[in-house]
């Protein structure tokens, strides 16, 4: 089971990466990042079957951090939306150097 779970984890992670690179909508990119975190969680849980319960404990922490990150990130997106009227990342290039 562990090997299959790890395989699924890799696939889901890859899909998340493709999602980040392919989409322009900020919220969808965010959700793809959440997908990546989930894939990592799966891999932690799978390996906790071999290495002990520490893996599951870590998953708790990951989830907590993911929640915090989602909250803050969405707040930022809202504030950007207020300014630019759009969440299309192509148009947001204030970091341009």
């Amino acid at each position: 089971m562990v090997a299959e779970a790890l395989f699924f984890s890799a696939v889901l992670f890859t899909i998340g990466v493709i999602g980040v690179l392919t989409r322009r909508n900020a919220i969808i990119i965010f959700m793809a990042v959440e997908l990546m975190l989930n894939a990592v969680n799966l891999s932690f849980v799978a390996l906790s079957r071999l290495y002990g319960v520490t893996g599951q404990v870590f998953v708790i922490f990951v989830m907590a951090v993911a929640a915090a990150e989602a909250a803050v990130g969405l707040a930022i997106i809202i504030s950007i939306f207020r300014h630019h009227e759009t969440v299309d990342l192509q148009n947001i290039n204030l970091l341009k150097g």
Binding site: M1, V2, E4, A5, L6, F7, F8, A10, V11, L12, F13, T14, I15, G16, V17, I18, G19, L21, T22, R23, R24, N25, I27, I28, M31, A32, E34, L35, N38, N41, L42, V45, A46, S48, R49, L50, Y51, V53, Q56, V57, V59, I60, F61, M63, A66, A67, A68, E69, A70, A71, V72, L74, A75, I76, I77, I78, S79, R82, V87, D88
Partner: protein, 171 residues
Amino acid sequence: MMHHGLFFQFNFYVFGLIAVASAIAFVTRKSPVAAALWLVNTMFCLAVLYVMLDAQFIGAVQVLLYAGAIMVVFLFVVMLLNLGHVPGSGDIRRLWPRLLAGAAGIVLLAELSVLGRQQLPGELVEPAAQSNVVTAVAGPLFNEYLLAFEVTSVLLLAAIIGAVVLAKRRV
């Protein structure tokens, strides 16, 4: 559930594939609402997988927290910003970046596969002598990782305050 019969394995594969299919669907939807819902589906399947991997508590928390809270927040924001209706071809990038992304994905998958083939210790650890799965997780959480636990709570506090501050309109 130590021994894994054929039925067990078959189910594992089914839910795994459903998770992958849902993830692919999520990445390819034009509408953010549809995409969010597909992601929720993925998380449900992952919760099933967690349970099948003897992490029942984590599975429950996954549904409660991820699917039930975080994704709801996402949907709140989508609705708030009225992003549900997407004109034209949406926000998916053009062909050339998609192909490149696909190529990068294939390379990544290949590398991960190669790296993941290492020898794993074949011994499975007994989850707990307790009958209570929550206790199995809670024990280390409040004993060895207490500091991390407390720090995480501070982190959550900071996140709440930050979210409020950032999203506040300037009144």
